[in-house]
Amino acid sequence: MTLLDVTRLSLKIGCYPVLKDVSFHIEPGEIVAVTGESGSGKSMTALAVMQLLPEQAEAKGYITLDGTQLLDQSEAQMCALRGQSIGMVFQEPMTALNPVKTIGAQVMETILIHKAMPRGQAEARAREVLERVGLPEDRFPLSRYPHELSGGQRQRVVIAMAIALRPKLLIADEPTTALDVTTQAQILELLKDLVQDTGMGLLIITHDLAVVADLADRIVVMRHGEVVETGGTRQLLRNMRHPYTRMLFAASSHRVALPEPPAPAPLLEVRNAVRDYKTPRKSLFAKPGRFRAVKDVSFTLNRGERLGLVGESGCGKSTLTRAILGLEPLQGGEILLGGEVVTTHLKPAVRRKLQVVFQDPYGSFNPRHRVERLITEPFHMLPDPPVGAARRDLIAETLTAVGLKPEDAGKYIHQFSGGQRQRIAIARALITRPELIIFDEAVSALDVSVRARILDLLAELCAAYSLTYLFISHDLSVVRTITDRCLVMRQGEIVEQGETEEVFSNPQHPYTRQLIAAAPVLPDLDQGAA
């Protein structure tokens, strides 16, 4: 018997249609992945099954769980089902747990709220289920608080809460998006094991097609609130019928062709850089402790070269970036840009050689300024910034270079999509013709199709302006295509560096191997068979 059957589910929030005639089903012991880009309605589908929709939402159609029509259930009946028959895991493990309650209390709450068993037994079950998700009692007693655990460990607690009553269906909404690749691999492995052991159905929502291909038995591809294609993973990968599906998979493994870098001539030299942070004092009169975030890092970035920097969160890549930008002082070693020392009091002449593009295309612009003003912000560092017609021409030229129109200069930032905003951020970095641009996770927040176009743009700009950049990312597949050389950073140290292709195809350091092994990859798609 089908475990979950969603038939012609439509959803409106206020007067906006969010889902249109969504249909799919899950069998017991089956993993079904719902995928699509942001705004496709995949999370809303999950929330509709949980009946945890926003207040103004109005759902029509049928959601049947084990013969029970969920849309007909009262709120009280739904409360009895949630946690008992359906468990749910969310994206952000750092905030998904109550910070003032112990993990034991939070896992036990699932059991106690459904009055499934007496307190003593519930405690034993909590222990058992935490052990099952990889948090054994001796190292992770029930009395631990969430802040004492890492992101991956917290996600395990959330999973323990969701499976404590052995639900028939587990819904996981982007369960690994906020985690590092190695942690992601472990959590996905855990989910797969749980499905195998317990025979529950798993509905996983993710934008990451590599994860989908790796994990799911069946795939549901969504776009603008509609299911465009669904099928068994293997068949679907072999034979994509809908052009959108094909586009999505092609964009995920998008490769660009970079022009050959010129002969090596050093632009940025980092020599034995050391960056320490003070940690809070242990007592009022003790010396503050020290945390070494960057340990004796050295590398050279040549003119016209594209250098990648990969590593997991907390490895020190952001700290290193801030030091290169002259935003933080070094405690040892030095950073030279074009032969001049980078300090926290940079001379404008040195400062204007550097520009940066950040991850968040929404947060990095002042919403009250027009694009014209936003992208000319770096002009204040120029000795004689262009004025009048020269200024207008430069704005028009730069906007055209990043694939926008000169007329866009008069618009405000909220009038653009995420991808367009990132183009504007690149225009802002480009307009003063800096010698070095730093891309700090610049494509991480973008949908795959948008990301593919931004990567194309970067490749074009490399050819047109012979850019030199440092590309920082946790996404190995992106670094692999967009850089010539790359550095692998771990716990403040560069553990491996070399030609990008060489590092990826023949990694020397065990950590690099571990990273590459953990990253899910799309199988080679034989589009000719389609």
Binding site: E75, R82, A96, P99, E109, Y145, S283
Partner: protein, 315 residues
């Protein structure tokens, strides 16, 4: 936890030492010589000098500061310049009115604000929320002495349930004392309750948007269960901060209410002492209030740590 408490205690002692020095210096540099003020404008120079010697005003500033601090530590706050009675006794009498009044008012305001704030947050944007918000708007806007006068008019003059003012003293019995303090406590509590309700509501609304509230709902908790089990405790941190500030205010800031109800409290004592240039009383009362404020902050810090385990382990 113990470590955290000891650290807070150390910072409490340091704050008190600094505060005593500042209070002493500020009061000393204030214009007006108590001796000549007490003797009037026509006093002979040698009479003034003799009085200064008697009051100890001819000693060096350091000596006077040290003897003041040493005296306070031993419970001796000196002798009032105007009343010629020990300051400690005067303050103690007034404390027995002001401290219970402050606690009474704070209890009332908390008892009103917690349910009202939680109720409003649970019904965000609905009629109940709007009614509560409207009432708090009124509570914040209307001064407490107006409430005081209305209370006297209704409950003392018309209904005759309470006296219009005065305090019989605790010798008359606990109930008589509390009875006399009820109207002033209500008048003090209403504006404070209005502020606290708003803080409670907005703190709780912030918490309701947190991811862990959604997690709680996904476990099968009802909206109400999630609010009580996961929301309220997390919302307590900003609320505790405000309660701490309010207590300090209620202790010394009740001067107008004390005036309206003719209560012999600290506020009136300090007011009279300032007008009479009775420096030693002013210094002592201010020091006492500082002590109260710092102690309350210390207690609030401890309460934070009880509420939030993250603060416990950071210490």
């Amino acid at each position: 936890m113990l470590r955290y408490a000891l650290k807070r205690l150390l910072s409490l002692i340091l704050s008190l030492a600094v505060a005593s020095l500042v209070i002493f210096l500020v009061v000393e540099v204030a214009p007006g010589d108590p001796a000549s003020f007490m003797l009037g404008v026509n006093a002979q120079a040698d009479t003034v000098a003799a009085l200064k010697a008697e009051l100890g005003l001819d000693q060096s500033k350091t000596a006077r500061y040290l003897s003041w601090v040493a005296g306070m530590l031993g419970g001796d706050f000196g002798t009032s310049y105007t009343y010629r009675t020990p300051v400690a006794g005067m303050i103690a009498d007034r404390m027995w009115v002001s401290l219970p009044l402050a606690f009474y008012a704070l209890t009332l305001s908390t008892l009103i604000a917690f349910p009202a704030g939680i109720y409003a947050a649970a019904r965000r944007g609905k009629a109940g929320d709007m009614a509560v918000m409207g009432a708090t708007q009124l509570g914040v806007a209307v001064p407490n002495f107006w409430f005081a006068m209305m209370l006297v008019l209704i409950f003392a003059i018309n209904l005759r349930w309470f006296g219009a003012g005065g305090f019989p003293g605790w010798e008359a019995g606990i109930w008589a004392g509390l009875h006399a303090l009820t109207l002033p406590a209500i008048a003090l509590a209403l504006p404070q309750a209005a502020i606290l309700t708003r803080v409670m509501r907005s703190a709780l609304l912030d918490i309701l948007d947190e991811d862990f509230m959604r997690t709680a709902r996904a476990k099968g908790l009802t909206r109400r269960q999630a609010l009580w089990r996961h929301g309220v405790r997390n919302a307590l941190i900003p609320v505790l901060t405000i309660i701490g500030l309010q207590f300090s205010f209620l202790l010394a800031g009740a001067i107008i209410i004390e005036q309206v109800f003719y209560l012999p409290g600290l506020g009136r004592l300090v007011f009279q002492a300032i007008s009479a240039r009775d420096l030693i009383v002013v210094e002592s009362v201010v020091m006492l209030l500082v002590f109260a404020v710092i102690t309350v902050n210390f207690l609030v810090d401890l309460a934070y740590a009880l509420v939030d385990p993250r603060l416990r382990s950071r210490a």
